[in-house]
Every structure is written in structure tokens, then in C-alpha cells.
Symmetry: C2
Subunit: 335 residues, 2 copies
């Protein structure tokens, strides 16, 4: 890209970005973007940065995957607040040798997802680097104050529900690392790999649950289910019990874990990047929550445990209880 | 920092961040931040990322400098829109070996500047990396729609004014690169170095000029005066003439350029990172503009040229005219 230059790349980008909606007063091309806030709503902001060699590996994530994932992880944060996504800023630090075709592919992955969720690309910046590829996204959304989901609203007695399945991204990453992505495992292996390289944020589910005030708290599973339970319970000032038998394991994680001599449940609990949502649901809202989830038609939800009085975090394996293991953390991953 | 872990660092950060203002509904610690928009104002958003080895060098920028600059370059973008800064998200990718004392210093540089400008730290994220230090800031501000400054409002006949002096950051960087920062040059050299490593955004000037609707267009000098003139003229659909004699050169750039056998004027015109503001001012607003600048009591402004009909960009050297040279660009700098 370095022979094209920043202005040419920006022109290339602008040519592909759909015309902005009316609430965008100043879009791409000025020093900053300016937008009209949504009436009577809060503005929700989040940012997440993907660095080559830390958060992705170009050997197994295509540029399209990377562009998609950089937005998806931010949409997941908005979804966990019950917010409707509106716009995003995209900053790219490109290796000087990064081919223009890869720039186009990265942008394509971003724009396919942003268009699907009605997210306007508002601005950002481009620079080149002798070092790694860096893709940084700030996403903004809106939510009505009383429909917002926070981590801190849970109470003892609330049921814990998780969307989709857990452990798929960990299984996919393990397959990629071991080079067995295309080997034994068939469709389930391919699905696991796809979950890791191209996650889907549960935007509609978070939005519908928030709008129906059907949950008392929510967090996303960026760092795994065990970590999500810990974060939600800690913010809510409660303990939690997870029922091992109830946890909806991804179809591939069992095979991958056993092949590696690991416990499938612990692999799934500690495996990050599933980008599912964990909800706390008060007993009186259980029916409303289930109705909202059906309405969302996004993904199934499964009851996996409950918040408890105190601060203990417990994993219940068929009556045998143990302390919930420590989850995955981005912070300790360095490769 | 890797032996402390993300949660401990976040706790360390939270302990130092002042309590958020009332318009912050959800601050640090949830999946995303949530804020109340300012009444009847537009929301202004900008993001800029500083990467070690690309945008800064830890041999000559202290961690305090880096934390300061990462916010300052974003505040400069808000200033050029006439926006009042309100909040920021801060994302750090820290080398695993980054000492905790340096983390504290970086945060200190950020917080000193954010506190001074009333900017609330709303959130962000932390991760570790085997690679370079990355400091990414998204800043948000507000501006009344009719008081906003854009690049595109200039008209032929508008005067061009620049704040402060130009070329200081280029001189400072040249001194640092050559290792002569502390050699001949005395206070002026020290000032130039400081302008490069710890720039001040012209927040108050941009705000007051915007509020008084005293300029038709504005852009900041992140990539140098020549580039700023080009951007403003291009967005406004005009040409421009710069009067070489009128350009307020930094006191050190002349010495540094001559020592390197370069033209001081061209060094200053092409030198990035001054973070001054360039304004276009319609003839009927000249008095109002000057009054607003005095009111701002931020920094002096100097008339350096005018927008013209057509699209030509001209440098007038005492009657001899030439095409305005191409400016500095981050995109071509790779070290």
C-alpha cells in the first residue's frame, strides 16, 4: 500500500462506503466526525483493537476475516449493553508491504458486517508501519436509559442464561494452531474454525432483551464463560453457581479437548472469543425473557446457573461442587 | 506489567481517575461506556493511534510525553471542529516487559492533560503484546451545529490565519534524531523538542472562534501547514496563496534547517505535528475573528495568505510565485 499513499487509499475507501444516513452531519474526510445524537437515548461507546501476532494470525485469518472480526468484537460489546449500533470509526496501521488487494478485502469484511447491522462508517485514520497490522475500531450505539443492560444489575436468585454454545472459538483456535483445521472433524471442525475467525455478535438478542427489560444484567463472553460469570457476579456484588451439565458445549470442543488430553468442560469455560451473551434474569422476568429471546430469533439461550448470596463462584458437577476455574484472559496471551 | 495482569492494572487505573461527571451514566468497568448527549449539540468523534517505532520513539519520548501526546493529537482534531472536548476512551497495548512505573507515568501524562481540559476518561481496554507499545485514543466532544468549523466552508477571498508558529515540531524531531537536542540552541532548542514530544492542542482557540462564528473553515496542522492549506482548499473547492514572508516560523527551525543545508521555510511548511490551527476568515468577519482570538487568550494568530478562485496552490516568495510544495505525510514516514 505504501506506493499508493494515504489520500489514494482514503479515496478507495470512500468510493466503497455507502452514503451516510441523515444523522451523520460530518462523515469521512474532515478532522473529526459529527453526528446528531438520538433523541432521549444514551450514547454508548466502546473500542477494541486487534493487533497482528497478539489478537490474530494472518496465517489463518484472511483479511476479510480480520475486517469482520474487528467490528464484530465491538458490536458484541454494544449488544451486551442492549444498545442499537449506529456508527463506527476505523483506524488501520498497515504494514508498508500490505497489498492493496488485502486492504480491499479487509475493508470488504468490515463493510459487509457494518451494512448488515446498519452501522455507518464515520471516519478513522490510516497510517503505515514497519511493524504489525493493527485494526482498531470504535463503535457507537444508542440505548434508552431504562432499557440499558449493565453488568451490575444482577441479584441473588437471578437465573443465568447463556446464548448459543461455548467453546467453539477455543476449539477452532486449537485446530488452527495444531494445523488440523481441515483434518478429522468435518463440518463441526469447520464451524468451530469459523466461529474463531469470523464471530457473529448477538446484536439483535441484546437489543430485544434490553428493550423488554427482560434481564437484570448482561456481559459478553469475549474472555470466556467463566470470566463472564466472574465479571457479572463481581459487578453485581453476588456469588454464582454454574451447573456443569447444563452448559451448552460446542459440538467440536469435546473432540478437540479429548484429542489434546484436556477436559472439554474446562476448555469451554476458559475459552475466549465466543462472543455470546450471558444474562442474569430475575425469577419474575423468566417468562418475559424467554418470550424476548424467541422474538429475537437470533440464537437459542440456555439456563446454566444462578446468582447467589455471598461472593463464592461455584461449578456444580452433578452435585460435586468446586471453585469456578479462572478463565482465559487476553492479557496473558502473548502469541 | 505482565506479572500484574489486566484486572490489577485496571484497578490501578481506576484508583487514579477522578470521579466521572454526572453525564457519564456508565464509565470504566462495563462492556461499554454510556453517556448523556449534550442538549441541542452535535456529538463530535475522532480517533488517533500512536504506535511505537511509527509515531514515537521511546528513546526520546518519555511515557508521560506519550500519554500526553496521545490525547493532545485527538484534542487538536476536536479543536479544529470548534468542539468542546468531553470524554475519551484509552486503549493500551503494552509490551509484556513494560514496567508498571512506566504505565503509571503514561497514565499520568494522559490524566494531567485530560483533567486540564475537563475530559472524562470513559473506558477503553488493556492488553499485552510481544510487539510495540500502542496507545490509542478516541475523543468525543460537542458543538452546536451552526458553530461547527469544517474544512469545507472556505470561499475565494477568505483570509488564511494560522495560530502560533510553524516548524517547531519538525525542528525538535530533527534535533532528537540527530542527537543534538541538548547541544547548541539553548532555550529555543528545548522549546522545539518540547513542541514535538508534548504538543498542546489549541482547544480554547478553536472553541471561541467556532462559538463566535468567526471563521468559515478550519483544519489542524497535524501534517504541516502546506498539507493543511491543501486539505482546506481542496475541501472548500478553492485555490490558495501563501505569503512566504508572513509565515510565523518557529525560532529554532531556521537554525536546524540551515545546519542541515535545508530551506527553513520549506522545512517549516512540510513539517508535521505542530498541531496549530489554520482558519479561513471571510472579509466581513475579520474584526470578529481578531476579537475572538484575543478573547481566547490562547496563542497569537497570523495572517498568512488567502483562498483564491480556481484550484491552484501558490507560494508567494516576495512576488516570485511557485507551486506550494507537497507537505509531510505520516503515510510515507516509516521509522
Amino acid at each position: 500500500v505504501s506506493d499508493l499513499g494515504e489520500q489514494a487509499l482514503i479515496a478507495r475507501l470512500r468510493a466503497r462506503v455507502p452514503p451516510p444516513p441523515a444523522w451523520v452531519t460530518v462523515g469521512i474526510g474532515d478532522d473529526a466526525a459529527a453526528i446528531e445524537p438520538a433523541r432521549n437515548e444514551l450514547e454508548v461507546l466502546t473500542t477494541d483493537i486487534l493487533v497482528e501476532g497478539v489478537h490474530f494470525d494472518r496465517r489463518w485469518s484472511s483479511s476479510t476475516d480480520i475486517g469482520h472480526k474487528a467490528l464484530a468484537v465491538n458490536l458484541s460489546d454494544l449488544a451486551s449493553m442492549g444498545a442499537r449500533p449506529r456508527g463506527a470509526l476505523l483506524s488501520l496501521v498497515l504494514p508498508s508491504t500490505f497489498p492493496v488487494a488485502e486492504f480491499d478485502a479487509l475493508l470488504g469484511g468490515f463493510l459487509e458486517l457494518s451494512t448488515r447491522h446498519g452501522v455507518a462508517l464515520l471516519g478513522g485514520n490510516l497510517s503505515t508501519s514497519p511493524g504489525p497490522l493493527i485494526v482498531d475500531v470504535t463503535a457507537i450505539g444508542t440505548v434508552h436509559r431504562r432499557r440499558m443492560l449493565m453488568r451490575s444489575g444482577g441479584r441473588p436468585g437471578d437465573a443465568l442464561y447463556v446464548s448459543g454454545t461455548v467453546g467453539g472459538a477455543a476449539a477452532g483456535l486449537a485446530r488452527l494452531t495444531a494445523g488440523t483445521a481441515t483434518a478429522a472433524g468435518g463440518n463441526e471442525a469447520a464451524t468451530a474454525v469459523r466461529r474463531y475467525v469470523r464471530p457473529e455478535a448477538r446484536v439483535r438478542l441484546g437489543l430485544v432483551v434490553g428493550r423488554n427489560r427482560a434481564a437484570s444484567a448482561c456481559v459478553d463472553l469475549s474472555d470466556g464463560l467463566a470470566d463472564a460469570v466472574r465479571q457479572l457476579a463481581s459487578a453485581s456484588g453476588t456469588g454464582a453457581t454454574l451447573a456443569a451439565d447444563a452448559i451448552p458445549l460446542d459440538a467440536d470442543v469435546e473432540r478437540v479437548a479429548r484429542a489434546g488430553g484436556a477436559d472439554p468442560l474446562l476448555t469451554a469455560l476458559g475459552g475466549g472469543e465466543d462472543y455470546e451473551l450471558l444474562f442474569a434474569v430475575p425469577p419474575r422476568r423468566l417468562k418475559g425473557f424467554q418470550a424476548a429471546c424467541r422474538l429475537a430469533r437470533d440464537v437459542a439461550v440456555t439456563r446454566v446457573g444462578a446468582l447467589t448470596a455471598g461472593t463464592e463462584l461455584v461449578l456444580d458437577r452433578g452435585g460435586q461442587t468446586e471453585t469456578l476455574p479462572v478463565g482465559f484472559t487476553h492479557f496473558e496471551r502473548t502469541g
